[in-house]
Symmetry: C2
Subunit: 344 residues, 2 copies
Amino acid sequence: MPGAWLGVPVRVTIADVASAAGVSKTAVSFAFNNPERLGQATLERVLGVAHDLGYTPHPAARALSMRRSGTIGVLIPQRLSTVFANPFVSELIQGLGEICEEHDLTLLLVPPLDGSLEGAIRQASVDGFISLGLGPHDRALEVLDAIGIPAVLVDSESAADHPVVNVDDQGGAEAAARHLIELGHRELAIIVLPPTRSQAANTPTAVRRLAGYRSAIESAGAAAPHTVTAGTSIAAGARAFESLPRGKQRPSGVLAMSDMAAIGVISAAQSAGLRIPEDLSVVGFDDIPAAAWTNPPLTTVHQPIVEKGRLAARLLIQSMKGKAVDSPAPLKTTLVIRNSTSTP
Amino acid sequence: MPGAWLGVPVRVTIADVASAAGVSKTAVSFAFNNPERLGQATLERVLGVAHDLGYTPHPAARALSMRRSGTIGVLIPQRLSTVFANPFVSELIQGLGEICEEHDLTLLLVPPLDGSLEGAIRQASVDGFISLGLGPHDRALEVLDAIGIPAVLVDSESAADHPVVNVDDQGGAEAAARHLIELGHRELAIIVLPPTRSQAANTPTAVRRLAGYRSAIESAGAAAPHTVTAGTSIAAGARAFESLPRGKQRPSGVLAMSDMAAIGVISAAQSAGLRIPEDLSVVGFDDIPAAAWTNPPLTTVHQPIVEKGRLAARLLIQSMKGKAVDSPAPLKTTLVIRNSTSTP
DNA sequence: ACGATCCCATAAACCGATTTAGTAAATCGG
DNA sequence: CCGATTTACTAAATCGGTTTATGGGATCGT
């Protein structure tokens, strides 16, 4: 049983290979990384021995000495179990993953550990970070550039000195609100995204979408909207519906900042005997794939999530190569009208 | 601008802190890891200096010398963009994440790089691996125990010398098939999961589910089912529907091995003018959250995905602590009857 | 006053790779 | 045949931490 002793496996190191092949560590290293610097015969012998011994370079050692780990970190502002309940994140990862795979990079998920995102950041051995939904004054940002690692911010505020990838949240929200208003709705409710982590403030995304809704509503002279905060889950959306005013006070249209919340509202409303869209119009945000086959299919603001991921990853990789990159223009959002909205 | 020189950031190392505080590297290390071994005064001074300089221990260096990285790897058998299109994976990650966060571990996604999962495994600096859907003879398994790192196999074959976490695939599949048969269906189609990566063989999961379907069908004396292979995506499911025999030959019931494929079938069937379930009954597998609010809601085999993730993570962590763990009994699957099935 | 204990702090070894600088032998030019 | 390259390989430094073994000084018991 090579490499094991009484069931305790012991890693084969470069030194083991070197001595077994009767060469120096340098030679072994060259065999893998600079084969042309070795003679034909030695090269083959070393590679042979390495293979027989099952040698694999220790990733941490390699990372230390090469100053790169081949990994990029994804900074997740909340617990994985809540964040991954939203298909939005899956889609973003699809985009990130596509580009990472092209560049032989793996993806490290970095959620707050022990309540602290900063701590988790330090622990992570990565060549760059992609952060999701960080507020402009988040402590995590300080840590990020204290360690001087490239970072790209997704869904953040443009203030920081890192490239920021955003979509046109405000424009999308305006289009959504205008859509309801044009259908004749005057009593609207807004379901706001929850603040992440301990920060009291709304996320940058929530702020921009809220501004979009409000601007459309105000310029139409409609009533000030009722607002509720709800997480991005079906259950949270359902709770939000429950907390809406009842009877004559009930808004005829709901503007949700996430499809998940919108779906929750719809499902709770249907359970309460309301017909969608006849009795209540609901418009979501994100256009996750599932939005197309809910019952009824969801009218929502489309944002190019996968493309957003790709773009962020590309920028980060540029940045990791030392190139200076600046924030691209916000990606377009478009209103997709399906069947969850109609005249009141 | 501390730590930077002409815009080139330079990491603050333990040696910098040591000399700035007028102590040895050891003292600095102790300040963070063994504070009780330092005098009150020195401790405070060192921590103060470290904070002022913005010192953060280099994760790779730490990992190298402590022989642990604080990360567990998730072996993904296909490209991230295809795997994360299936909500199944999101749910699994929720389960894994829950336990990992409890133990201050981060999660590294390891898909095949450059076509090779083995290569990606070597590159990954992790303390343990969780693999998804690996066949019993996959080369990746060899690499896995060549480097002697604990691993837990999810949705695999029980053969290997690693703990395996499975659900009762066969039982669930049997229940699904029996359900259709009891409704009176005699002409059935099965949509098989695709093989992962280059291996020609079906995944262990597919094999078990197929066995379940077949056993129920055969023992009922129904006709041999038509089988199609389709990926776990809506589009693939739709294509599978298109490839089904038409007219009188068309099966009256479809057994899909994934909810995503089932949803694709339903949606393609509806576009073709069929009513679900009146004209075609469809049963899925997995019971992803979306299955509850499709149109119509999906009859499917429920498996406890999040719990499966939790269990796998717990076992891996046990294993990482050096304890010997053996495979738990397969988790229960249950048929959830909604509205995508009825009498033919 | 003297050896035994503690308390603090450090020097040096170690983790496992890459890389720089350099050496001995073979090859080359003339 | 002699100096200049080239080829093939290696010793030692380096990456940035942790840990072991050790030493000096203060405190203690007697």
